[in-house]
């Protein structure tokens, strides 16, 4: 009976930290590779519009090529499934979270998972994608326990179904929990950013939450 007891307690108290590392792949950009069907017509300026475009092959001017051109904004972002933080040996499953009735950002059900705020933007698209992870569970450390040790320049890798994006830590900030700049953390940015949130500071037993929030600001690494 003692064995069963110990196993049960161990099960209840156990924390599993996944530490596998996976490779990072760059975000491939779709290319437009239409080849023009018509020969090029280059005329000297004409006074009559009708005369301008006639089919004539001129060898000195090449046909239009879209090679190397970016003609539309391809930054649609990825549906995140996994997040890796090599510096912390974190490799966690991503859960979608939303906004709670009381206005708070939701949190992942599993303390070993990371919650992506899915009403906001996707990682890799323009603006601030936001993810939150627990610093601890009821009984021990959770997925973002060591987030506070991240340093500027560290990499975060977010995996989607077929691609992965790398973000670089640019800033670390700690805010009182009721006085964090929510608009800035969740708001628009011209570049693609990913902000990671966890709790820090002293655990307020009355409020049942830590008194501070740690925000790790990161930006998408350019290919």
């Amino acid at each position: 009976m003692k064995n069963l007891f110990v196993k049960t307690i161990l099960f209840v108290l156990s924390i599993v930290l996944l530490t596998a590392c996976a490779s990072n792949t760059e975000n491939p950009k779709a290319s437009i590779a239409d080849e023009p069907k018509k020969p090029v017509d280059v005329s000297q300026p004409e006074t009559e519009v009708e005369q301008v475009v006639e089919d004539a092959i001129v060898t000195s001017i090449p046909a239009p090529s879209a090679e190397g051109l970016t003609l539309t904004d391809n930054r649609v972002g990825i549906q995140p499934t996994r997040i890796e933080i090599p510096a912390l040996h974190v490799d966690a499953v991503i859960e979608e979270v939303g906004r709670l009735e009381n206005g708070q950002m939701g949190v992942p059900q599993n303390p070993d998972h990371v919650g992506w705020f899915s009403p906001g933007v996707k990682p890799g698209s323009q603006g601030s994608a936001v993810m939150a992870g627990h610093v601890d569970s009821l009984t021990g450390p959770a997925v973002f326990y060591k987030l506070v040790t991240l340093e500027i320049g560290d990499e975060i890798i977010v995996h989607g179904d077929d691609e992965a994006l790398t973000f670089i830590v640019t800033k670390k900030e700690e805010y009182p929990r009721q006085n964090a700049p929510v608009d800035k953390i969740f708001g628009f940015t011209y570049t693609s950013t990913l902000n990671l949130i966890t709790c820090t500071g002293v655990f307020d037993r009355k409020a049942k939450t830590h008194d501070n929030r740690l925000v790790i600001y990161t930006e998408l690494k350019k290919p």
């Binding site: 023009p36 018509k38 280059v42 475009v53 089919d55 001129v58 051109l69 450390p141 966890t198």
Partner: protein, 453 residues
């Protein structure tokens, strides 16, 4: 030049961002049917709309001017002059935020890229491939200079690397539109024109976001990034592209230009995009009605062009009478759809402005008064931003639930205290209960085992 010093020294005035030369109906009260809510029209979103208007008209005028240049068209000078006026407007807006010196510096940099586009057109006309390559290399250099300027001005809210990417897209879209126009591949030329105008709305959002983030108190702490503001600019984009495409289609039509059909097809594509927007709010039936009514007025413009080509004064009068009737139908539709938030009488007035501006732009083009033509074009283009603002104001007021921010009001609770110092009595209590429950379970199991034996 010390930009930072300028940023501190020059207070921003929102009114300066809407100089007399910008006859835009940005203010909350306008001639399209009543006031828009603060959510749709406030100092921040008005700045966004103002920049969107100037930047997207730049893209349109640049594409048109390059076409007119390679064609040696008679209105080339007027188109180029209008593009230059647009640069003045944009530089004035920059100066109103960052000071005169910054405005002048911006103007010099911005004008340089227009010059390189002209070089590209000239080299193409001269079949000078080296000249074309030189122009492209100059445009590459421009991107770096322009990006650096905006990065510094916005205190790196806009990052040079992102700006260079955005500017590359702008340059690529214009070159692609031009090369394909020259090659006679009009589908590509016009889809790139359409996309290049749309692209500038992203630039306008980015720039207005950076400015309002930098000087929040000058914008009553409003943000440019709300679902309501996004709706306003999506509609502004679609309505202004309608005016721009209608004008170029009418010009190409009367000229019998080979790209007329494609210009008209792009105008139809725009109608479909507008219809999809209407459908997303008012459903399929509403969208169907809108599509029919909206298409009718494009048809009447075509009638007007055809009658003009045939020197058929009666045909012109008939087209104008049809456009008058259209105004009534369109106004009634929007009055009903918005449940009276936009008033039919005001809408008819606004639509009269739109119809008159397009007809005047066309008549002046036919008469060879190109300076007047491009003034009309500017007015017609800017006018549409009032239409988008009014309609988005009504829609947001009608369906407020669709435009609430998804943003949370508060930070997440991402810790349960298991790693905190000191005893957590809650946890202890849970663990104790668990132990008790397990203990009880053990006793029961034992009893059961004993019984079974």
């Amino acid at each position: 030049m010390n930009l930072k010093k300028k940023l501190i020294a020059i207070p921003l005035s929102v009114s300066l961002l809407l100089p007399a030369g910008v006859p835009l109906a940005f203010a909350a009260d306008h001639d399209h049917g009543g006031p828009a809510s603060m959510e749709v029209s406030n100092p921040a979103t008005d700045l966004r709309a103002a920049l969107d208007s100037i930047l997207s008209e730049h893209a349109y005028l640049a594409v048109v001017t390059m076409q007119k240049g390679i064609d040696g068209a008679k209105d080339f000078d007027a188109a180029a002059a209008q593009l230059s006026e647009n640069t003045d407007e944009l530089s004035a807006a920059v100066a109103s935020v960052y000071g005169e010196d910054a405005g002048n510096q911006f103007k010099e940099i911005w004008s340089s890229h227009i010059g390189y586009f002209v070089d590209y057109v000239t080299a193409t006309a001269n079949k000078d491939e080296d000249g074309r390559k030189k122009a492209l290399a100059d445009l590459d250099g421009y991107r770096v200079t322009q990006a650096d300027f905006l990065d510094k001005a916005t205190d790196s809210r806009l990052k040079a690397a992102d700006l260079e990417e955005g500017l590359k897209m702008h340059v690529d879209q214009l070159i692609w539109a031009f090369d394909n126009y020259v090659a006679g591949d009009y589908d590509k030329a016009y889809s790139s024109l359409y996309e290049s105008m749309h692209h500038m709305f992203g630039t306008g959002k980015g720039l207005s976001w950076a400015i309002t983030d930098q000087f929040p108190e000058k914008f009553d702490n409003h943000t440019v990034d709300t679902p309501a503001a996004d709706l306003r600019e999506a509609l502004n984009n679609q309505f202004s592209a309608h005016a721009a495409l209608a004008i170029i289609t009418m010009q190409k039509g009367i000229d019998g230009a080979p790209d007329f059909e494609t210009a008209a097809a792009t105008l139809n594509q725009n109608t479909e995009d507008l219809t999809a927007s209407v459908e997303s709010v008012y459903g399929a039936e509403g969208a169907k009605q809108f599509n029919e009514i909206w298409n009718s007025h494009i048809g009447y413009f075509v009638d007007y062009v055809t009658a003009t080509a045939k020197k058929d004064a009666d045909g012109q009068k008939k087209a104008m009478a049809d456009l008058d009737a259209y105004r009534v139908t369109q106004a009634a539709f929007l009055d009903t759809a918005t449940e009276g938030r936009l008033k039919a009488a005001d809408l008819e007035e606004g639509l009269k402005g739109h119809v008159d501006q397009l007809l005047m732009a066309f008549d002046n083009y036919v008469a060879g008064d190109y300076d007047a033509t491009y003034d009309n074009i500017h007015e017609a283009y800017s006018h549409m931003f009032g239409v988008g603002t009014a309609l988005s104001g009504a829609i947001v007021d009608q369906y407020p639930d669709k435009f609430t921010s998804a943003m949370p009001a508060d930070m997440p609770k991402t810790g349960l205290g298991g790693m905190s110092d000191g005893p957590d009595y809650t946890v202890l209590w849970i663990v104790a209960s668990l132990i008790f429950a397990l203990g009880a379970g053990t006793v029961l199991m034992r009893r059961k085992t004993v019984k079974e034996q």
